[in-house]
Assembly symmetry: C2
Homo-oligomer: 233 residues x 2
């Protein structure tokens, strides 16, 4: 039986959160035909992202009720607003009952949290939002990706590529992951080196994230209060 890897798409999400791991995993069916990859949304019409590009899903939630793997991208304010999107969160909650892996990229882990999947688990998210995780019962971890049972959460945006290669290895073995890495020529060379986490800009950007959360959760005052009350900082 074909195992389905389903990526969620919802309007306003961060394009690279979705496309990074999608590009890695889309190569898998050629190497292991027991897998298929789909992109699932409320409908298949083009929807906005946080870039000028619009994306269109291949299937609706109803058409993909029992994927083997779920991957949920994050984003800014639209992702925070989507914590109240019961069509999306309900689909994550239902598919998680039988999926072997429920993965997220960036603030997508908050959507897993809204679906009740982070309770008592170690998890990560975008570095600027890790303080939000305790509100969902999770222990925040500053790693590139965090695996806790069936739940696999990645750090911000580009971390989805690293997480996806790990996921491929978990599904089919390291050889397959290395072949897919070669296919996308993932031999990263950031021109200015790795991120310097002690640089002043890290602290300087923090207020921007707090404003984003306040704006994104404007329609969910109870959740905003709960998130602030659970902030461990």
């Amino acid at each position: 039986m074909t195992k389905t890897i389903a990526f969620a798409f919802y309007p306003g999400c961060t394009a690279l959160d979705l496309v990074g791991p999608l590009q890695v995993l889309s190569g898998l069916p050629q190497l292991d035909p027991s897998y298929e990859v789909v992109v699932v949304g409320a409908d298949t019409a083009p929807g906005a992202t946080d870039t000028p590009l619009r994306l269109a899903a291949s299937h609706t939630y109803e058409e993909v009720p029992d994927p083997a793997v779920v991957v949920v991208p994050g984003g800014g304010e639209p992702t925070l607003a989507a914590l109240a999107d019961e069509a999306l969160v309900g689909w994550i909650r239902r598919t998680a009952r039988t999926a072997g892996t429920v993965a997220s990229v960036c603030s997508g882990s908050l959507l897993l949290g809204a679906a009740g999947l982070l309770e008592g688990r170690r998890a990560t998210t975008h570095w600027g939002l890790r303080w939000m995780l305790p509100a969902f019962g999770a222990e925040p971890v500053a790693e590139r990706w965090v695996e806790d049972g069936p739940v696999l959460t990645a750090a911000g945006v580009s971390a989805g590529i690293d997480m996806a290669l790990h996921l491929v290895a978990r599904l089919t073995g390291e050889e397959t992951a290395r072949t897919l890495q070669l296919g996308i020529e993932y031999d990263p060379r950031p021109p200015f080196g790795a991120i310097d986490w002690d640089a002043p800009r890290v602290a300087e950007l923090a207020p921007l994230f707090e404003k984003m959360v306040a704006d994104g959760l404007a329609g969910q005052p109870e959740l905003l209060a709960r998130v602030r009350a659970a902030d461990p900082r």
Copy 2:
């Protein structure tokens, strides 16, 4: 006057070739409002990629006649077929006359070549296709990205992210690039390390690329013959 950074989209291209650098550069207008970012295609209807995701451009070629920066993604057979797409290649050729930078990711450099932009220049592309560059008058270079005057070519797929950070620094300075790097948390950690270019799988995959080129250029026998005749291997 607003400077336009225009990404090309054409059906069948590799999603990450486009979305990697797009995610980086889409953050630029917030830091430097003298820039705007658009995605340009033959039309704005959703078109296929090499993944199950469809993408939709924000503007047509006609609507963006004089961008300051052009970025062209690559792909597999559809990109090779697109070397005969005069709407796309003509737009690249025309915009290159005034654009300060014409950039490509992966086999997108072949489209720059078809537009006559690689003659006498150092350039790169996906590692599996570097042998094709001499047919376009280019000197193939095995680097993550290669800058030769206004022409900036990146290696395969994921190299577009590194190239885009370099491009941001070239446009607005290193500080801006570092801030955008932090925004997308680009602190790469490939789970199995860097690519081992001496691994047997590298040589094993080479015939797949030759078949892809033969299939993709089936409608352009003269170009296929020219590419094979110029193969330096």
